[in-house]
Amino acid sequence: MKRIYVHEEYCIGCRLCEIHCLVQHSRSKKILKAFKEEFPRAVSRVLVEEHGYLSFALQCRHCEEAPCLEACITGAMYRDKRTEAVLCNEEKCVGCWMCIMVCPFGVIKRDLESNKVGSKCDLCLGEEMPVCVQNCPNEALTFEERTET
C-alpha cells in the first residue's frame, strides 16, 4: 500500500505537518479559522518528536497486522478496502482505549470531548497526498508505494 515514510535525518522540527494536519481535520479546513475560531481546537493526528537536534514526525503506520485492529472490542477500527488504511469508525467506538494500550507507536490519541478515538491518521482520504507530506518543507515525509517489506 502507499504509506507515509519518515526520513528523520531531514526532519527540521518545524512542526508544519502538525499544523496542516490539524487544519485538515478541522471543521472549516481553513487555517485561521481552525486556530482562531474553532473550539475545541481540532487535534493533529501527526506528532513530532524531538530530542536534541534529532526529530521526526510520527503518525499511524497503518500496520499490516495492526494491533489496534485486533484489540478493538467494538470493531470500530477497520481497514479501508481501497487504500488499506486503518481507520476508526467513530459511530462504533466506545472509548475503551484498547487501541491506545496496544499501539507500539503511541500514535492514537483520545478525543476527550466525545470520549472516542479522536486522533488517528486517516492518510487524508480524498487528498491525493496526505497534507503532512504535502506541506513538509524538507521532504522528510514521503508518500510512497514500496514493494520491499
Binding site: R3, I4, Y5, V6, H7, E8, L47, E49, E50, H51, L54, S55, F56, L58, R61, H62, C63, E64, E65, A66, P67, E70, A71, I73, T74, G75, E91, K92, V94, G95, C96, W97, M98, C99, I100, M101, V102, C103, P104, F105, G106, I108, K109, R110, R146, T149
Partner: protein, 425 residues
C-alpha cells in the same frame, strides 16, 4: 476444505478472517450456542448502562457471514467432539463432519459455592442474554439495590452499569482491595476513593455466603462476617475460566485450559483451539496459563486460522494487559502490576492534584510491567517495549518524562518508522 468453528466471538472471527485471507473457496461452518450474529461481549456493560443502543453491539457488519460465505448453526450446542472420526455431535443428535476444527468456546463465569444461587434475581454477567435478563428483571421488579460479588474488572463494569440504571450497589471483594489482580495497592486505593465518593458501598476481605429471600425474589444476602445486606439483585462478577467441558473425555489434552502448540493446534492434528478456552505462554512469567483478554483471543484465532488454511504462522505468546475506564478514570495496566520479589526496579510518578499515577517495573533493564491511572496517552509504546523485550536501561531516567517517546528509543527499534511495517502484539 472444510473448516468448522465452535464458538462465535473474537477468536472465531479472527480465524474466519484469516482463513478467508488464504482460502476463498473452503467451506466454513460456525456452531454457536448463542442465537446472535457475532457481537462484542465486552459491550454488554455499556448496553446495560444504556450507553449504547443494541444495534451497536455487533462486532462485525450485518453481512459478515454472508460476505465470508459461512454456514452458521446458531442457538445450537455441540454435545461432543468425536476427535477420532472428525465429527461433532450436536444437541439435536445431528452429526457434522469436519476436516479442520477450531475450538473457540471461550470462558464460563466462575460461581463460588453460595447457598441460594437459584433464586430469582441472581445473575452472571458475561453474555448479551445476561445483560438482557438483568435489564428485564430490574425493569419488571421493584429493584432498588444490588450486590455485585467480585471487585475485579467484570464486577466493576457490572457495578457501573447497575449504577447507571439507578441502583444502589454494593461490591464485595474477597481480597483486601479491588482490582488486586491488575492493579497495585496505590492504584486500587485511587479507584476505591473514587468509587466511595460516588456512593458505591465497597466491602473488602469479605463475601456473600448465602442469598436469602422468598420464591418471588431476593430480600438480602448474608456476608461471611455475619452482616446482612438488603438487596434485590445479586450478580456474580468474579471472572471466567476456560470453557473446556467439551474436551473432557476426548483425547484432546488440557490443563487449566486446552493446551496448544505455537500453531494453536491441540495434540490432535487438525484440531485447533483459541481464545479464552486455551492456555498459552505468558512471556513475562514464563508460565503457561489462560490469559482471557480480547486482543489475545482475536490474534490466537487469526494464527489458528492461518495454520488451518495451510499458511504456517507461529503465536508469540502474550501477557496480561487491560484497559478499563472506571468512574471516568482511564486506566491501563500491562504485564506485572507489582514486583513479585526483589531484583526488580520500579519507576513511578504520582500526582494527587491531577489524579494521575504512572509506574514502570523493570527487570534487567527490560520493562515487565506498566501501570497508568488517569493519564494513558502513548501507553502502547511501553507495551511495545515489553513485547519486543527492548533494553531501556539507557533511557531509564526519562521513561516517564513528558517528552519520552519513540525518539528516545534505539534507532534499530525506530526502523519501524522508515519501514512502516506493523509489529505484532
Amino acid at each position: 476444505m472444510n473448516y468448522t468453528i465452535i464458538g462465535n466471538s473474537a477468536a472465531a472471527v479472527g480465524a474466519i478472517e484469516a482463513i478467508r485471507r488464504y482460502d476463498r473457496k473452503g467451506e466454513i461452518v460456525v456452531v454457536s450456542r448463542e442465537p446472535y450474529s457475532v457481537y462484542s461481549r465486552p459491550l454488554i456493560s455499556h448496553l446495560l448502562a444504556g450507553h449504547i443502543q443494541e444495534n451497536r453491539i455487533f462486532y462485525r457488519e450485518k453481512d459478515f457471514y454472508k460476505r465470508n460465505r459461512i454456514q452458521t448453526f446458531l442457538r445450537r450446542e455441540v454435545k461432543a467432539i468425536q476427535a477420532r472420526s472428525n465429527h461433532l455431535l450436536l444437541d439435536d443428535g445431528e452429526r457434522l463432519g469436519f476436516e479442520k476444527l477450531l475450538i473457540a468456546t471461550g470462558g464460563c463465569p466462575m460461581i463460588p459455592p453460595v447457598k441460594g444461587i437459584d433464586r430469582r434475581g441472581v445473575f452472571t454477567f458475561t453474555t448479551w442474554d445476561d445483560a438482557k435478563e438483568i435489564r428485564r428483571y430490574v425493569r419488571e421488579n421493584p429493584v432498588e439495590s444490588a450486590v455485585v460479588i467480585g471487585g475485579g474488572l467484570i464486577g466493576l463494569k457490572a457495578m457501573e452499569a447497575l449504577m447507571a440504571s439507578g441502583l444502589r450497589v454494593t461490591v464485595t471483594e474477597l481480597m483486601d482491595r479491588i482490582l488486586s489482580a491488575t492493579f497495585d495497592k496505590k492504584a486500587s486505593e485511587m479507584i476505591e476513593r473514587q468509587l466511595k465518593a460516588r456512593g458505591v458501598n465497597l466491602i473488602t476481605e469479605n463475601t456473600v455466603e448465602e442469598i436469602l429471600g422468598s420464591h418471588n425474589g431476593i430480600e438480602e444476602v448474608l456476608l461471611k462476617d455475619g452482616r446482612r445486606l438488603k438487596c434485590q439483585v445479586v450478580i456474580f462478577g468474579i471472572g471466567v475460566f476456560p470453557n473446556i467441558g467439551l474436551v473432557k473425555d476426548t483425547p484432546i489434552r488440557y490443563n487449566k485450559g486446552i493446551r496448544v502448540n505455537a500453531h494453536m493446534e491441540t495434540n490432535i492434528s487438525g484440531i485447533y483451539a483459541a481464545g479464552d478456552v486455551v492456555e498459552i505462554p505468558d512471556i513475562l512469567l514464563d508460565t503457561v496459563r489462560p490469559i482471557a483478554i480480547w486482543p489475545n483471543a482475536y490474534r490466537q484465532g487469526w494464527i489458528a486460522g492461518c495454520n488451518m488454511a495451510g499458511t504456517p504462522r507461529r503465536y508469540e505468546g502474550s501477557f496480561a494487559m487491560n484497559s478499563i475506564e472506571i468512574c471516568g478514570i482511564p486506566t491501563i495496566s500491562v504485564g506485572m502490576a507489582e514486583a513479585p520479589e526483589n531484583g526488580f526496579e520500579i519507576i513511578q510518578e504520582f500526582d494527587s492534584k491531577s489524579g494521575t499515577y504512572k509506574k514502570i517495573i523493570l527487570k534487567d533493564g527490560v520493562i515487565v510491567g506498566a501501570l497508568f491511572i488517569g493519564e494513558i496517552d502513548r501507553a502502547g509504546i511501553y507495551t511495545g517495549l515489553i513485547r519486543e523485550r527492548i533494553d531501556v536501561s539507557g533511557v531509564k531516567d526519562i521513561l516517564l518524562r513528558e517528552d519520552f517517546g519513540f525518539i528516545s528509543l534505539p534507532r534499530e527499534y525506530r526502523k519501524h518508522l522508515v519501514r512502516g511495517e506493523g509489529v505484532f502484539l
